[in-house]
Symmetry: C2
Subunit: 546 residues, 2 copies
C-alpha cells in the first residue's frame, strides 16, 4: 500500500474495489464462519461447561451489543483482567465486534502498573475475574480513569470480591444474541492494545490491527497444523499477545478451545487425556514443568501432542524430555510487537538422520520467517545491512510485514525508534546459519563482556541445562573489577538432588572455554514473569548485591 | 476499505502503515519464502526433470528480468498457451514478478477465439508450447496484436512447429537469476487475466488481484490440508483459474508440484504410485475416468489420495467408486469469477453414521463458504433477499469477498451487472439446506420446464448415474408442442455393456416422478470442454434436431 500505482494501465481502470470484491480482513470473520458451518460443534470446554460455536457467537454478539448500550464506541478501550476462561475468549470477539479495542492485562501485574495502563489506555470498561478483584480494586483506587467495572463470576474461580457495577452475565443479558455489528469499518482499524512488561520505565502499548491479527492467525493455523478436529489446550495465557493470536486461529480452524485457569502439571495432563488435546503452547519453563512433573501427575494419553514454545529458546535437553513424554515440540519466535509468533524453526527432512542432541540443537534455533511475515533478517544495527549466513557473525534480528504492530500507543517517538529504516528492531542479537536459520545468541543487554570478549549467556545456559542435576539455569553479567564482567549463574537443582558450586564449575570447564565458566554460582528458585520468562533483570540486581 | 474511518480515535493517530508493518499481499511471496526455507527441496517433477525451490525461484527471476529487457512493463499482458509443464508454472511467478498480467489460455481453444483474446487482451508476449504452435500460428495470422512469440520446447512435448522469435530457454538465458523486482507495488494490482469459455458471444476476461490470489491460495491450503510433505499432481489444467490458485497454494505449503501434460488413467496412476502423490484436483469427468479405468492402467498405491472436484457436482456414485479406488473426495464450488474454489462441502462428523448413499449425497452438495470468502448466500434475484434454509426454496447463489475478481476486463457494463447489489451473481440456482449447506439445483438455463413444472436436470442425471450400466449422463430440455419442454437424456454406457431406451425409462419410472422421466434417450459419447465439463449447449442444439 506504500507505493503509488501508475494510472496508465488499462488493468487498473473500471476494476475498482467494491462491496462485492473487498471485505476488511478481520479475525471476527472466523467466528462468524465457524458458527455458520459448525453451529453445534463444541467451541469451548471449561470444567463441565460446554459452549457450541452457536453459543460462542451469540455470547460475543451479546457482549458487543451490551457494550454499545453502555456507550462504547469505535476506538474505545475495553480492558480485561482474567485467566484463560470463556469470558476472556468471548472478549476477543465481542469487544472488536463493538468496534472497540481489547486491552488484555497480564494477570500478575501489580496494582500500580494496572493503574498506569488503565489511565494511559484511557480504559472505558474493565472486565475483571473475581480472583483478581482485590488487585483491581487497589489499582482503581489510584486511577484517574473510572471505567465501568464488570465482575466476571467464573464458576471455577475461587471466592473473591465483588467490585463491579454488575456481573458479566448480567451485562450479557442486556445484549442481543443476534446483533452482529459488521465491524470493523476498515482492516487497519485497531483491534488490540497490549502493554509490554518492560524491564525499565513505564510499559509501552503495542497496537494490533484487524488485518494483522487475521493474517497472523492464518500463519499459526498453517504453521502449527490446526484443523477442524484439533483440540487446543489453553496453557499459554490469552493476555500474552492475545494468546499468540491462537484465540482466533483455533476458531479459524473450527477446532475446540479447552480453557484452563491455572497451569499445573496434574490438571494439564488430565485435560490432555480427558479431552484428546492435540495442540498447546507454552514458554520453555512450562515444558520443563511438564517434563519433570512427578509420575502421579502424569495421566497417560495415547495421542502425540503438538506443543509450540517460544519467548526463549527451549534448551535441547527440554525438547528431548518432552518427546519422551509424548509431545512434539515446535519452536516459534516472536515478540509482543509481532502478534506473537513471527518465525518458526521449520522442520527439515535432513534432520531425521541426526542424533538426538544434534537434532534438538537444530530445533532450538529461532528459524525462519512465518509465511505471513514479509521479511526477517539478521542486520547490522547501524546501517541495517544483512549479515553473512555464516553461523558466527552477530547482528540484530529485524522483522517487517503485515504481522508487525501498528506501533506503540500514544508514543510516536518509540514507534519511530522501533521502526527505523523500515524494519522492526527486535533487540535480539543473533547469527544466521548457512541453512538460513536464525539463532538468537542474546538480547543486546544479555551479552556478558568479559575481558573484552563477548560471552553469550544463552550458550552458558545451554551447557548448564545439560548437567543431569540442573532443572533450570539463568546466567547474567556480574561486575568485576578486573574483567569488567564475569558470568554469574543462578541454578535450580532437580528435585531430590544436591549439587555444589565446584561440581558446576568443574563441569563447565569440561564443556566451555575457560573465560565462559561462571565465576559465581547461586542456587535456588528463579524469579519468573507470569508468562514463564525468567526475569533476568531481577537476577542482575541480585548479582550486584553478591 | 469501502467505508471511511472517523479521525476521532486516538487509536488511529501516529499508527500509520509503514514499510515496517505493511507489505502487499501477493502469491509471489510464497515462492520467495519456499526458496529461502527449503532451497534444496524438490519443487517440480516433470518426467525425469527435477527443479528445486532454489531453481524454480531463479528461473522465475530470470523470466521476470528477461521480460523486462524485452520492454514488458507493469500492467502489460503476457499470454501463455501450454499444458501443465514447468514453464507454465514458472510463468505464474515470473510474469507477475515483472509486474505484468498473466493471461493463461485454454489449450483447446480454436484459433479464432485465441485471436480474439490476444487482441482484446492487448497481449505483448505469447509463450507457446510447441504442441500448440500450429493452432497459435493460425490465431496469429488473424490478429492485430503482434506479440513477441516465444517457443516453449518441453522435452516431453511431441514434435511441433517453431513459430517464435526465440526459445523459452534462450529467453531465460537473457535473464538474471537473482533479479527479484519487488513487485507488486500494491496488492490490488492486477495479476491474472482469464477468459471465461462463454457459451454465447465473445468471452469475458476475469481480472484477479495479487491480494485475492494470495488469500484464495491460503484458503485452498487450509481447506485441502496442504502441508510441506504434500505432493500435488497436476491433473487440473493450470489455465483453469490458474489451476484454482493451486499453482500458488502448493508453493505456499512448500509442497511438490508434479507436472503432467495429459490426463489419462495409466500415467495418472503411475505418477500417484511413483511420486507418492497426496493431493490432486479434477472435474467429475476426471474422477469418472479414473474410477472406471481398466485394471491394467491402475498401478496400485498405498496412500489415500485427497482429490478435490468441482465445476459440476460429483454424482454420489462417482464418489463411492473413487473411495473404493483409494481416493478421498472433497467437493469444492466456485467460478472463474472467484479464483476457482469459493465454497467447500465441509465434512461433518455426524455424517460418519450415514450409509454410503446418504453420505455421498451430502458430500455432493456445494456446501459452505471458504474461510477466505466474506459471504455466500442463496438470494432472490430480484431484491437479493436471503432465501429460507429449508432445502426447497430455490434462489441464486451470490458470493462476495476478497476472492471475488476485480471485474471483467474492459467491460464495465458486464462487471456492474455481475456485481449488482454488492454481490457476485453466479447464475447458479440452488437451495440452502437446514444445515446451512447450499446445493445447486441448476444453472438458470439448465432448468427444464415441463407442463409448468420445474425439473432439475441435475436430479435426473443423479438418478441416471446410479444405473449400473451408465458411465456418464447429461439431461437437457427438448422442445415439446404439448408440454413446452421435456427431459432429453444423453447417455454413455459403461464399456462392455449394452443398454436400451426402454431399460432407462423403466428404471427412471421407478426412481423419479413421472414428469421427470426422459422422453428421449440418446446413446453415445458426450461433448466436453477442455476442463471436462459436459457441453450442454451442444446437447441442446442436438436436441433441437432430433
Amino acid at each position: 500500500m506504500a507505493k503509488a500505482q501508475p494510472a496508465a494501465s488499462i488493468f487498473e481502470q473500471d476494476l475498482d474495489r467494491t462491496a462485492a470484491n473487498t471485505a476488511p480482513l478481520t479475525p471476527i470473520t472466523y467466528l462468524r464462519r465457524a458458527a455458520g458451518v459448525f453451529p453445534d460443534k463444541t467451541a469451548v470446554i471449561h470444567g463441565d461447561l460446554r459452549l457450541s460455536y452457536r453459543d460462542l457467537y451469540a455470547r460475543a454478539c451479546r457482549l458487543a451489543s451490551a457494550l454499545a448500550k453502555h456507550g462504547i464506541r469505535r476506538g474505545d478501550t475495553v480492558t480485561i483482567l482474567a485467566p484463560n476462561t470463556p469470558a476472556m475468549l468471548e472478549a476477543h470477539y465481542g469487544v472488536p465486534m463493538a468496534g472497540a479495542v481489547l486491552n488484555a492485562l497480564n494477570t500478575r501485574l501489580d496494582p500500580a502498573t494496572i493503574a498506569f495502563i488503565l489511565d494511559h489506555g484511557e480504559s472505558k470498561v474493565l472486565l475483571c475475574d473475581r480472583e483478581l478483584a482485590a488487585t483491581a480494586r487497589l489499582a482503581l483506587a489510584q486511577t484517574k480513569a473510572k471505567p465501568l467495572v464488570i465482575d466476571i463470576e467464573d464458576a471455577l474461580a475461587p471466592e473473591g470480591e465483588s467490585i463491579g457495577a454488575m456481573s458479566y452475565e448480567a451485562l450479557l443479558a442486556e445484549g442481543d444474541p443476534t446483533a452482529d455489528t459488521g465491524e470493523p469499518a476498515v482492516e487497519w482499524q485497531s483491534l488490540s492494545l497490549l502493554y509490554t512488561s518492560g524491564t525499565t520505565g513505564n510499559p509501552k502499548g503495542c497496537v494490533y490491527s484487524h488485518r494483522g491479527a487475521y493474517l497472523n492467525a492464518f500463519g499459526n493455523m498453517i504453521t502449527f497444523g490446526l484443523r477442524t478436529d484439533s483440540v487446543y489446550l489453553w496453557t499459554l495465557p490469552m493476555f500474552h499477545c492475545n494468546g499468540w493470536t491462537f484465540t482466533w486461529a483455533v476458531t479459524a480452524a473450527c477446532g475446540t478451545h479447552v480453557c484452563l485457569r491455572k497451569v499445573e502439571p496434574a490438571p494439564v495432563y488430565d485435560a490432555i487425556a480427558r479431552h484428546g488435546v492435540t495442540h498447546m503452547c507454552g514458554a520453555p519453563v512450562v515444558l520443563t514443568m511438564l517434563a519433570h512433573a512427578p509420575d502421579e501427575a502424569k495421566t497417560p494419553f495415547a495421542q502425540t501432542v503438538e506443543i509450540a514454545t517460544g519467548g526463549a529458546a527451549p534448551p535441547s535437553a527440554v525438547i528431548e524430555a518432552m518427546e519422551a513424554n509424548g509431545f512434539r515440540v515446535t519452536h516459534l519466535y516472536g515478540l509482543t510487537e509481532t502478534y506473537g509468533p513471527a518465525a518458526v524453526c521449520a522442520w527439515q527432512e535432513s534432520w531425521e538422520s541426526l542424533d538426538d542432541r544434534q537434532r534438538t540443537e537444530k530445533m532450538a534455533r529461532q528459524g525462519v520467517r512465518y509465511v505471513t511475515l514479509d521479511g526477517a533478517k539478521v542486520g547490522a544495527p547501524a546501517d541495517l545491512a544483512e549479515m553473512p549466513a555464516d553461523g558466527t557473525t552477530m547482528g540484530e534480528i529485524m522483522l517487517r510485514g503485515n504481522t508487525v504492530m501498528k506501533g506503540y500507543y500514544k508514543n510516536p517517538a518509540a514507534t519511530a525508534e522501533a521502526f527505523r529504516g523500515g524494519w522492526l528492531h527486535t533487540g535480539d542479537l543473533a547469527v544466521r546459519h548457512e541453512d538460513g536459520y536464525m539463532e538468537v545468541k542474546d538480547r543486546s543487554k544479555d551479552v556478558i563482556i568479559s575481558g573484552g570478549e563477548n560471552i553469550s549467556s544463552l550458550e552458558v545456559e545451554e551447557a548448564l541445562y545439560r548437567h543431569p542435576k540442573v532443572l533450570e539455569a539463568a546466567v547474567v553479567a556480574r561486575l568485576d573489577p578486573k574483567w569488567g564482567e564475569t558470568p554469574c549463574a543462578f541454578i535450580t537443582a532437580r528435585p531430590g538432588t544436591t549439587i555444589s558450586e565446584a561440581e558446576i564449575t568443574d563441569y563447565c570447564r569440561e564443556v566451555l572455554a575457560g573465560f565462559k565458566v561462571p565465576r559465581t554460582v547461586v542456587f535456588g528458585p528463579l524469579p519468573k514473569t507470569s508468562t514463564g520468562k525468567i526475569q533476568k533483570f531481577v537476577l542482575r540486581e541480585q548479582a550486584k548485591t553478591l
